[in-house]
Symmetry: C2
């Protein structure tokens, strides 16, 4: 049964706030019979009770409590967007990036941007590999790549070499038998079959990529870090995994680094004259410089 009574949720919210049908009715300029009817209908549609009717008093059930919370937040979001559209407020800046980069590099710095530009709304959408850039409708895209991989106009934020990483058990095996043997027998974790990172690394190491194990493809980068920690294989990671390395959960397995990789940014050409895009790009450049 699909739910289709969102309008009644607003009535429900008022009743929940007052814990009174009568008060809600006068607030909504409706009869209390109507309010009572709406709550009853809502409860029937939902399949569970929102209020506990003890004597002549109302109490929210646990389910009711959770639904008020979520429904207020969600419907308010819609109202807010409608208001913004009515007053022609600019759309939030949409930024496509790897979840890995968002949580490890951008997120800890982000408050400095939002504090300086509270008027600029931000929205982040996941970007798992470069091929997706075209399909995603973002104002700004950030990705880990090397020169030549990106077609459209772009700009390097900072260099960020990567190297094979594994958990402690794999690191032990590497110490015993040498990386060359292990890397041909352990599963290689990739973002997608199209990624060239591993090929580049094998070339640089003088090994034959064709001889390697069939890799495990985990698109979401944060999940892929966890997969390495869990011992599911070897993945290429840059220095943004430093916390895991210093706590011993992760180990860099080689001295051979992919030096020509780094984080790149590109903006939709149609948005290059946008003020918000310019401010964010400048901020990205500043933070990149400071942090390196």
């Amino acid at each position: 049964m699909t739910f289709y009574s969102y309008d009644m949720l607003r009535t429900f919210q008022v009743v929940a706030a007052n814990l009174s049908m009568t008060a809600a009715a006068s607030q909504l300029n409706q009869s209390k019979g109507s309010v009572s009817y709406q709550i009853k209908t809502l409860e029937t549609h939902l399949g569970f009770a929102l209020f506990e009717r003890t004597n002549a008093r109302l109490h929210l059930t646990p389910e009711g409590q959770r639904l008020v919370r979520v429904s207020i937040i969600s419907l308010d979001q819609i109202d807010q967007e409608i208001e913004a559209l009515r007053y022609k407020e600019p759309a939030p800046l949409t930024i496509a990036l790897q979840t890995y980069f968002l949580s490890r590099w951008l997120s800890p710095r982000l408050m400095r941007f939002t504090a300086a530009h509270p008027e600029i709304g931000l929205r982040f959408v996941p970007l798992n590999f470069i091929g997706e850039i075209e399909g995603i409708d973002a104002d700004i895209s950030i990705c880990w790549a090397k020169e030549g991989m990106i077609d459209a106009p772009h700009e390097r934020l900072f260099a960020c070499p990567a190297c094979p990483t594994g958990n402690d058990k794999i690191a032990e095996r590497v110490l015993e038998d040498g990386l060359d043997k292990i890397i041909l027998s352990a599963p290689l974790l990739l973002d997608s079959s199209e990624s060239t990172g591993w090929q580049d690394w094998f070339n640089r190491a003088g090994l034959d990529y064709e001889n390697s194990q069939q890799g495990l493809s985990i698109a979401d980068s944060n999940s892929r870090v966890q997969a390495v920690i869990d011992g599911q294989g070897i993945a290429l990671w840059d220095r943004l995994v430093a916390p895991e390395v210093s706590s011993g959960r992760l180990h860099y397995l080689s001295d051979i680094w992919l030096d020509d990789y780094g984080y790149y940014v590109q903006a939709k050409k149609s948005n290059l004259e946008s003020k918000a895009v310019g401010l964010f790009l400048n901020w990205l450049r500043d933070e990149s410089r400071d942090a390196n």
Copy 2:
């Protein structure tokens, strides 16, 4: 004019997905006249057009594009919560904490918890000062405090001493005239008038708190960091502002640190037997140990 036609948004979403009234109608098992009527009514209520009718084809207006996005996300959130309630899924773990702690300490580590326990939903609510703990209905609260400040059962995560900080201009003045003079003339930034941090520091430094400038109270901790960077005054910060200190935006102004402060955690007694609460507390302990 308040908006009250959330139900019609679902119809709108189907039309927007198909860019066709006819297709949407058959998908919804309705007549196309009804669908057309709903979109028209919706547009009237909203006050702006959702579709551009060029010839016999529909195109979303920019406003329409933004409204589909937001309304899908928001209504889906409600649907998801309703489904969760129908199948009696456990409520997300609610954690009250300072935004400062969330973005600087927890956020960069959080993926390790969510990756290990994807079944546990998390919700964060801002906690600006200790006094609020009682009023907030959170499963777990985390705050920066010292032993003796918290009444209820609690546990220290890790020590985190704090010291006065200022931006480069203030640091310069401190070098010239000494902290003792500056700190009595510059505004002190606090979370709330009830906070005891500054009093403790003045005692430790052998200065008279009563002689200090009337402070500026900025409840949100992240905003307060920015206020210090912007030169609005001096605030007490711990080592979580290290990125700003190493990039020169912020300076520790003294050798006198509040050594007995740190981050404390407490859980609602009613939830102590909850599995999710236990897992999160254990994870917090592990991360605190690793990171210190």
